[in-house]
Structures are given as structure tokens and as C-alpha cells.
């Protein structure tokens, strides 16, 4: 029903850490409606619980219930701003989109149930072995509509920019990391346990399917981010693009030889992503407060370097890390992920066997595209002249919080390797439901 293994625990920590930080920054946030401030925290906890269950769900029914728990809480959180039509619209779109996507997923789950005759993920490979690939793929696609909605992957991504823009900032930050973490843990487990079998992967071609989705996701996310003027929306698209990179890790699962590395790489990526993405969102949130810039527009960030060197430098560092510039955590995260993917591809036989190396080329090109819009923000902050010169002061407590996020962004990749940090992802406890133990390839760790 619920797995109790390294994968689940690792992502639970990521989710709970995000939830904790969300609660911290929401204590004083003016965007949280005062009359229901208590309920806000309860809903964050409920949502986190749903995501935690997602990270561990090893059963089709549990998978659906966990997703619904997380979703229902998130719908309410997205509409938490009072008296603002944008927030109401965000939660409206979220709930309609979410209801449809989860309904479609449920339909897919019912088909999977019918084909396999079981609800347990672990029992599915045996049950699917003799099934018709078309039926399996159709069911898989329906399920993917639900997973893709949670992952915000193309073509199921369109809700996310609107919801991210309309929702209160702490909620946006929370959703962009925790919700995605839960969804990725779920996706990893789903494909690893139910479809990890080599024969099924070859018969249904799901790695090709996911590779296509990954390509579309990163490309469309990055391209759409280019024209954005609202910082929140830009970060929303950037997080879609990061979802695209992360899907490469799922594609790599198709090769059992690098399964452990792929999972560890996704885990590492999420730790890095937690710090850099939350950091960027929190700086934006801090700047958007009335006593500071009172704006989320990139144009208003002009000359920020002189008005508040600390915030400008902090934001720049988070953005550099999001691009993947060497010393920062984001670089190592990408490096490990791509390395695992390339290894998975090189060891596969031909395109039909999962050799999707073209995706790495696309990912590198996409990184180049992402330079354009991230650096545009940095350029605006550092080189454009400000409209007014009034200094912007960061709250002392916020400076503390920033340090908590900044230091790991600096040192994460320097201190820990993928194996040291990510290995818990694949370490299996005795009673856990993950079937195979740590892959032997982990014995030769990747050295830098």
C-alpha cells in the first residue's frame, strides 16, 4: 500500500523541508489572509501529507488518494488571497484542470486494473507481461495525464503558469518544489516498479514517450519564459523547464544497469532544486512586499544592485544555480543527471532499445536558451539604472533564511557527490516493497 524505502524517505524529507520553510515564510506574509492564518498552516500540513503519501504510494488506489489529498489542499491554498480576482481565478483554473486531469488518470488506472487484475504496483509487471501493448500504452497515457499534470509537463502543463502567478507567493514556492517532488517520487516509483521490466519497456516504448514529453517540456518551458515580464511567471516557466530535465532521469530508468544512478541523480537534483528555487521565490516574495518594491515585475528590479546589494546578489546566485553555472549546486545536479542519462543511453541497443541520446543534445541547447532569460534578469538588476534610489532593506530574519538557502547552494555539490547524497534514494530496507537492492554499479562511484 505504502512503501517504506529509501526513495520514499528521501523525497519525504525534501517535501517536509519545503513545508517547514513555507510555514516559516508565511508567518508574516501579508498574502496570507489573517482571519484564516491558522487554517493556512493546517492546509500546508495536509498538502504535505498528501505529497508524502505520493512519495510512498505503491498501490494504484493509494496513488490516486494521495494525489487527491495533495490536490484538494492545494486548490484551497491557491485561492487563499482574499478579495483578489487573480487568486480566485488561479484556484478556479486549478480545480477544474485538476479535477479533469485526475478524472482522466482514474480512467487510466481503471484500465490498468483491468489489464493487470491488480492494484499493487509490484504485482503489475507480471500481470502486464502478456498484455496487449496498445491497451497498456493507452492506459499509461491516461495515467500520464494525471502524473503530467502534477509534474507540469507538456502537454499537461498549461495550468501551472496561471496558477503560479495567481496564487500567494509562499504557496507558489511550495507547489513548485514540494508538489513536484511528490510527483517525481511517484513517477519514479510508478515506472520503476510497474514498467521497469525491460520487456515491457520495449513492448510499450514508454521511454520514447517520456523522452518526447521531456523534450517538449524543457523546450516549451524555456521558450515561453523568454518573453515574460512578471518574475513569478518567469519562475513558473523555468520550473516547467526543470521538470523537463528531471524527466530525463525517469527515461534513464529504462536501462536497469543505471537505474540506481538515475534515481540518485533525480534525488540530488531535487535537493539542489529545493535550495535554489525556493531561494529565488523567497527573494521575489520579499521584494514584492509593500515596504520594499511592492512589485513582481522584472522591470522594477532595475538598479537593485545599488538599492539592495544583498538581495540582488542572492537572487543572482540562485539564478546562476538554476542555469547550471559551475560552482553552484544546480551545475552538479545537471551534470549528474545528464551523466546518468548518457550512460543509460550508451548501454542501450539502438533507438528501439532506448538509445535517446538526442535528448541530451536538446537539453544542452535548452540550457543555452535558458541563459537568455535568466541573465536578462541579472542584467536588469545590475546594469539598468533605477527609477528611484531609495534603498531596499531586507528583514534581518530574512537575511538569516537566505543564508540557510544560500550556503547549501554554494557547497552542496562541492561537499557531497551524487552517491553520498543520493544513495539513500535507492537503499532498500528489508521490508520495503522495492524489489531489487542497490545496483552493483554503485560500487564504482562517479568521481569528479
Amino acid at each position: 500500500m505504502v512503501a517504506d524505502d529509501g526513495l520514499a524517505w528521501f523525497f519525504k524529507l525534501v517535501i517536509l523541508g519545503t513545508a517547514l520553510l513555507t510555514c516559516l515564510v508565511s508567518i508574516r506574509s501579508p498574502e496570507v489572509f489573517d482571519a484564516f492564518r491558522g487554517e493556512f498552516f493546517v492546509l500546508v500540513v495536509f498538502a504535505a501529507l498528501g505529497m508524502v503519501l505520493m512519495a510512498g504510494a505503491a498501490n494504484l488506489l493509494m496513488l490516486y488518494l494521495a494525489m487527491e489529498t495533495a490536490s484538494l489542499s492545494s486548490y484551497v491554498l491557491a485561492g487563499f488571497l482574499s478579495g483578489q480576482s487573480r487568486s480566485a481565478e488561479a484556484s478556479f483554473k486549478y480545480v477544474i484542470y485538476g479535477a479533469v486531469a485526475s478524472g482522466v488518470m482514474l480512467f487510466g488506472l481503471s484500465l490498468l486494473f483491468g489489464i493487470g487484475g491488480t492494484l499493487d504496483l509490484a504485482e503489475l509487471p507480471a500481470a502486464l507481461a502478456g498484455a496487449s501493448p496498445l491497451a497498456v500504452v493507452l492506459a499509461l497515457l491516461f495515467v500520464l495525464a494525471g502524473l503530467g499534470y502534477k509534474l507540469a509537463s507538456v502537454p499537461f502543463h498549461m495550468w501551472s503558469p496561471d496558477v503560479y502567478e495567481g496564487a500567494p507567493l509562499p504557496v507558489t514556492a511550495f507547489l513548485s518544489v514540494a508538489s513536484k517532488a511528490g510527483a517525481f517520487a511517484l513517477t519514479l516509483r510508478f515506472f520503476d516498479e510497474a514498467f521497469g521490466d525491460r520487456a515491457i519497456a520495449l513492448a510499450t516504448q514508454w521511454p520514447l514517450l517520456l523522452a518526447l514529453i521531456s523534450l517538449l517540456t524543457m523546450t516549451i518551458g524555456n521558450l515561453a519564459a523568454i518573453g515574460q515580464r512578471n518574475m513569478k511567471r518567469l519562475l513558473a516557466y523555468s520550473s516547467i523547464a526543470h521538470g523537463g530535465y528531471l524527466l530525463m532521469g525517469v527515461v534513464a530508468l529504462a536501462n536497469p544497469a543505471v537505474r540506481a544512478e538515475a534515481m540518485a541523480a533525480v534525488g540530488f537534483y531535487f535537493v539542489a532544486y529545493l535550495f535554489m528555487n525556493l531561494g529565488a521565490f523567497y527573494v521575489v516574495q520579499h521584494l514584492a512586499e509593500p515596504e520594499r518594491l511592492n512589485s513582481e515585475m522584472i522591470a522594477d528590479y532595475a538598479g537593485l544592485l545599488r538599492r539592495s546589494p544583498f538581495l540582488a546578489v542572492a537572487l543572482s546566485i540562485f539564478l546562476f544555480s538554476l542555469i547550471g553555472i559551475p560552482p553552484f549546486a544546480g551545475f552538479w545536479a545537471k551534470l549528474y543527471l545528464f551523466e546518468a542519462f548518457v550512460r543509460a543511453g550508451l548501454e542501450a541497443e539502438g533507438i528501439a532499445g532506448g538509445r535517446h541520446l538526442w535528448l541530451v543534445v536538446a537539453a544542452l541547447l535548452n540550457t543555452a536558451i535558458s541563459l537568455y532569460y535568466y541573465l536578462y534578469v541579472v542584467k536588469t538588476m545590475c546594469f539598468d539604472s533605477a527609477v528611484e534610489d531609495r534603498p531596499v532593506r531586507a528583514h534581518p530574519a530574512f537575511v538569516g533564511l537566505m543564508l540557510v538557502l544560500l550556503i547549501p547552494t554554494f557547497v552542496l555539490g562541492l561537499l557531497w557527490s551524487r552517491e553520498e547524497l543520493g544513495v539513500p534514494v535507492v537503499q532498500v530496507e528489508a521490508s520495503a516493497s522495492l524489489s531489487s537492492s542497490v545496483s552493483p554499479t554503485l560500487g564504482t562511484p562517479f568521481r569528479r
Binding site: M1, V2, F33, A35, F36, E39, V42, L43, F46, L49, L53, L61, M62, L65, A66, E68, T69, L72, S73, Y75, V76, G79, F80, S82, G83, S91, L111, G114, I115, G117, T118, L119, E123, A126, A127, A131, S132, L134, A135, L138
Partner: protein
């Protein structure tokens, strides 16, 4: 007869679903939805899911639709409104819908395992052989046949007429014993606890196989093995396990419709019906493997309650 009822229900369900998507009056849409979902409840009855049919009527038709109607009343000045979309919106939707329908019908017709499962009583071990022979004669070699223990009845003997605590304790002891004996017996669950008529000091606990099909197959569990598991657990000083009766069964999966009918009509074979699907459902939810999802569902209801209250009131409270 079944076919007539089915086509009637199918007609109602589909036609009224059609009304939901075409009518111009949103209240009519809600009522059409009610009828359509009522027909789905009828399908549940046809599919031996009586309890679910009742729940469907109570919760869906009774609850959700009232909610929807309230929503309609509170959000619309007039009931007849522009519900229909322009052609530019209808066409792509029709197009996509048709392809999707094609895919689904194709998969439903020729790609899904269109087969059936039957469970027969097999008290003497003869049934298995008979079924196997019949399958060979009918040319249904692809059917999977396995022997299993379908039901175990434990009989307890007390010192005197049993009191409710004794019954409860016995039940708990059996459950604990089953849990301790995982995984071999984890596919059994308590289905009925009853006192034996005419013998007030006796108690029978029936264990039944779970609804989950065993891809591994539960080997026919030797009643003596059950006794072995449960014997050391004397629930109370005054209660002893005196008899363990196992009901063996043959489960045949992957039957085509024709073979299924043929087997059902064979006078020498006794089809094993579950003691009660309602009890089975309750047991699976409250005591079986679905306890955790049950709790999560409760949590979801709590979230919904809270969330709806917050969203509905945030505009009103200054």
C-alpha cells in the same frame, strides 16, 4: 433478460449523458446527470455490486447532485443561458472525442482480456479434475486453473454460554494470529463471526479469501496448518479452538464467455458465491488492507470541509 436490462440501462445512461452535454438549461443538465448516474447504479446491481449501487444512489444522486443544484441556484440569475459553445470550439472537441472513442472502443473490443473467472467448491478434490477435463474438451487450454482454500471455519468451544467480550476477544485473537502468520495466510480475512444455533457455548468464525486475485496463487491451505497457526493463541482461558474446517475451491481464470456459460451450467459443479459482498467490503475497508486508504479518505473529507468553508467565507469576512 440480463441483456434487455443492460441495453435499457445503457440507453438511459448514454442518452441522458448526451442531454447533459447538449441541453441549454443547466438545471435540466443536472437532472439528466442524475438519471444517467442512476442508470450507472443500475449497472452496479447487474454487476453484483449491490452495496455500491446503494451508495451511488445515496451519495451521488442524493448528495452531490443536491450540492450541484445549490451551486446552480447560487451562481445564476437565469437558468437558461448560453451553455452551448460556438462551432469553433465544438468541432475540435468532437474531433478529439471521436478519435478517443475509437481508441477506447478498439481497446475494449479487441485488446483487453475479455475473460471471466469462476470459483467452484471442491470439497473432495474431484472438481478440479472435472473442470480440467471439461476445459480440455472445450478447447479452453488458455484458462488458468488453481486450487485454493476459499473459506476456513474455526469453531471455538467455551465453558458456558458466551458473553460479548468473549466473542470480541476471539475475533481479535484470530486477527492477530493471521497477522502474525504473514504472509502465507494474509490473504484470508474474517468474514463472519457467529454463534452456533442451539449451542450457546460455541462460536464460529469464518475466514474467507480476499477479493484480490493471487497472481502467486494461494496454495490450498491445509486446515491443519491453520490450526497450527492459531492453536497457540488461546483467546481466553475459557475458550478453545476445537475444529478447523477448510473449504477448498478451484479458481478458473481467463474463461471465454462461451466456456464460462458452459461451466456454469454444469450440474456437477457448484459455484462458490462469496458469503456477502457487503460484509467483504466492510471488512476490507475497516479491518483489511484498505484501512489506511480509508483513513486517508476521511482526511480528504476533512480537507474538503475545511477548504470549502475557508473559500466560501473568505470573501464575506473582512
Amino acid at each position: 433478460m440480463e441483456a434487455v436490462v443492460f441495453y435499457l440501462l445503457a440507453g438511459v445512461a448514454v442518452v441522458f449523458a448526451g442531454v447533459v452535454v447538449t441541453t441549454r438549461n443547466v438545471v435540466h443538465a443536472a437532472f439528466a446527470l442524475m438519471v444517467s448516474l442512476g442508470a450507472v447504479a443500475g449497472f452496479y446491481v447487474l454487476l453484483d455490486a449491490d452495496f455500491l449501487a446503494v451508495i451511488q444512489l445515496l451519495v451521488y444522486v442524493g448528495g452531490i447532485l443536491v450540492l450541484v443544484l445549490f451551486g446552480v441556484m447560487m451562481t445564476s440569475g437565469r437558468l437558461i443561458m448560453q451553455l452551448r459553445a460556438p462551432v469553433g470550439q465544438l468541432l475540435p472537441a468532437t474531433f478529439v472525442g471521436l478519435i478517443l472513442l475509437g481508441f477506447l472502443l478498439h481497446v475494449g473490443r479487441s485488446e483487453l482480456p475479455n475473460n471471466r473467472t469462476l470459483v467452484f467448491e471442491d470439497s473432495d478434490g474431484e472438481t478440479a479434475r472435472r473442470v480440467a477435463r471439461l476445459l480440455r474438451e472445450l478447447g479452453a487450454e488458455s484458462a488458468r486453473l488453481q486450487s485454493e482454500t476459499a473459506r476456513v471455519v474455526l469453531t471455538f468451544q467455551g465453558a458456558g454460554p458466551l458473553r460479548p467480550e468473549a466473542v470480541r476477544d476471539a475475533r481479535r485473537a484470530v486477527e492477530r494470529g493471521l497477522q502474525a502468520a504473514r504472509p502465507s495466510s494474509s490473504r484470508l480475512y474474517v468474514i463472519q463471526v457467529q454463534e452456533v444455533w442451539g449451542a450457546p457455548e460455541r462460536l464460529q468464525i469464518a475466514l474467507e479469501r480476499k477479493g484480490t486475485p493471487a497472481s502467486d496463487g494461494m496454495a490450498p491451505l491445509d486446515p491443519s496448518r491453520i490450526a497450527e497457526i492459531l492453536q497457540p493463541l488461546s483467546p481466553r482461558e475459557d475458550l478453545r479452538l476445537i475444529a478447523v474446517q477448510g473449504l477448498r475451491a478451484v479458481r478458473v481464470q481467463g474463461l471465454s464467455e462461451a466456456v464460462y456459460r458452459r461451466l456454469r451450467e454444469d450440474p456437477a459443479l457448484r459455484v462458490l458465491t462469496p458469503l456477502s459482498t457487503t460484509a467483504g467490503l466492510g471488512d476490507a475497508l475497516m479491518l483489511g488492507e484498505f484501512l489506511l486508504p480509508f483513513e486517508v479518505a476521511g482526511l480528504i473529507l476533512l480537507v474538503a470541509l475545511m477548504g470549502a468553508a475557508i473559500i466560501a467565507r473568505k470573501g464575506i469576512t473582512p
